[in-house]
């Protein structure tokens, strides 16, 4: 067995009569970026919410950093959560706090024994890492979508997590900002040696950030491998549709807009 930080086997989750995950299995190796690619409503976000302990699975084995999430007590969960980070699709920044307070929040209330000076230094370091040190006294409402994503990533990194779970990191962003966020995700992996699961439906994001891709369709993984293995080797069925849709979106719509402006 390789050095797996996450192991999931035969995971099932339903909401009422809706079966969302129907026997999902996956492994995440240390320092690996795994992209989970899938349509909206395919259960991607549910999967990482189960991995972070926000939702309980109906059945199946889930091990994160050696902790069995089916048999974990509250104290162990608190310890585990300090070792994993979660970047929300909406960034989920605290509206009532400044950017610096947002980043300092986990250090102040989750990590014990840090002085105010240490918290300030670490906060400043994280703001520098995401290139937004000049925004520290602003409120979240004053930031753009891309800046909010960066602050979300900074807040996640501040506790030095071993695993980061990104939920649609490029959703709702313009193409240039998407590229910047993709670069930031790869930079985080190189600089902080983190492992990550990146949930997305954006093929560019998947290609730029993923060491390995897993395609989740209708609650099961249809295919797993490198980007080229999945999309450049004559895919069929839904995976082909997925690829074609993404390429249409990126190559055909853009020139139309250009012509209109012209």
């Amino acid at each position: 067995m390789k050095n797996n930080v996450i192991e999931v086997k035969d995971l099932y989750k339903s909401f009422g009569s809706l079966d969302v995950l129907k026997g999902v299995s996956l492994n995440l190796e240390k320092s690996e970026n795994l992209v989970v690619l899938g349509k909206s409503g395919s259960g991607k976000s549910v999967l990482i919410k189960i991995l972070s302990g926000l939702i309980k699975a109906d059945s199946g084995k889930v091990r994160v950093l050696g902790y069995d999430l089916n048999n974990i007590n509250r104290i162990e969960m608190q310890v585990l959560r300090q070792r994993i980070g979660f970047c929300f699709q909406s960034s989920a920044l605290y509206d009532g706090m400044t950017i610096a307070e947002n980043i300092a929040f986990p250090l102040k209330y989750a990590v014990k024994g840090m002085s105010d000076k240490e918290i300030m230094t670490k906060t400043h370091e994280m703001l520098e890492a995401v290139g937004l040190e000049n925004k520290k006294n602003q409120m979240p409402a004053e930031l753009s979508g891309g800046q909010k994503k960066r602050i979300g990533i900074a807040r996640t990194l501040v506790t030095n997590p071993e695993i980061i779970l990104y939920d649609e990191p490029t959703a709702g962003l313009d193409p240039i900002t998407c590229v910047e966020i993709n670069e930031l995700i790869s930079e985080v992996q190189d600089r902080f040696k983190t492992s990550a699961i990146i949930i997305t439906h954006d093929l560019t994001c998947a290609k730029e950030t993923g060491d390995r891709i897993a395609v989740l369709l209708n609650g099961v993984f249809k295919q797993t491998g490198s980007f080229d293995e999945i999309f450049n080797s004559n895919p069929s069925g839904e995976i082909k549709m997925f690829r074609d849709y993404n390429f249409i979106e990126k190559t055909q719509i853009a020139p139309k807009i250009e012509l209109q402006n012209f």
Binding site: G53, F86, F88, A92, Y94, D95, G96, F105, A110
Partner: protein, 262 residues
């Protein structure tokens, strides 16, 4: 095999929902008592909430209390004048204010101002995933958001109630001073002649229960807000309606118990 949720209806859908909500509300309250401890209390947030709930309500409470005292005195005068008993005005007004009006007026205003604010704030945090963000940061959101607010409300409302009583009696005194030319000393003597420890004690107990109710209902409604902005409005509305309903139930109960000791 995955375990599925049981959607069986027992009595009728609406009664089932009412009973389930009642049960969940009780669970929420028991969770408060289970998790509350002074050693884990986040004092900075607690003092912030005392400021928001207590100090920021002072202008509204002052105006309402003063007008209540003055108008109640004005409206009671004609009836007493018929029997030539206007000298009883201070005593009548003081009994009404200390036994019922001060705590009720404060609680109803606080339910509208504080309860709706807590419900909307926590509801908004819930639907924008800020509560989940706290949870995955290894910060206990219940401790940070609920315990601080409920405790601040439980402590602030009794203080505000006694302040309301003071302001209402001031309004009453001004009215009596200009109409009956009674001086302050005579007014106070007449007013407190018939006020005893039971009146003060029952008012204090009621105010504590009202404060606890406003905080608890506001937090419960916000914490369990449904998805979407509509859920935020509903949470704020539920906070006010349910709080006022429970406040009147408590008022009836405490009055019955107090009267049995007279």
């Amino acid at each position: 095999m995955p375990v599925k949720e049981n959607n069986e209806v027992f009595i009728s859908e609406s009664i089932d929902r009412l009973l389930i909500n009642f049960r969940l509300g009780l669970d929420f309250m028991f969770r408060f008592f289970g998790e509350f401890s002074f050693s884990n209390l986040i004092w900075s947030e607690f003092f912030n909430q005392c400021y928001q709930i207590g100090l920021k309500s002072l202008p509204l409470i002052s105006l309402t209390g003063f007008v209540t005292g003055m108008v109640f005195t004005q409206q009671s005068r004609p009836s007493l004048q018929e029997f030539g008993a206007t000298s009883w005005l201070p005593s009548l007004v003081a009994i009404a204010i200390v036994r019922a009006l001060a705590t009720l007026v404060t609680a109803i205003i606080a339910a509208g101002k504080v309860g709706s604010n807590i419900g909307a704030e926590l509801g908004s945090m819930k639907v924008t995933e800020q509560i989940e963000a706290m949870e995955v940061s290894a910060v206990n959101p219940f401790n940070y958001l609920v315990i601080t607010r409920v405790l601040a409300s439980t402590i602030s409302i009794p203080i505000l109630s006694f302040y309301t009583a003071f302001v209402a009696l001031s309004g009453s005194f001004i009215n009596v001073y200009f109409n009956e030319e009674t001086n302050l000393r005579a007014y106070l003597f007449a007013a407190f002649e018939n006020i005893n420890f039971l009146d003060m004690g029952s008012a204090l107990i009621k105010a504590i229960l009202f404060g606890f109710t406003i905080g608890m209902v506001g937090c419960y409604s916000g914490y369990n807000a449904e998805k979407g902005t509509l859920g935020v409005g509903k949470a704020a509305n539920k906070s006010v309606v349910k709080s006022i309903f429970i406040i009147f139930l408590i008022e009836i109960f405490v009055v019955q118990v107090t009267n049995s000791f007279r």
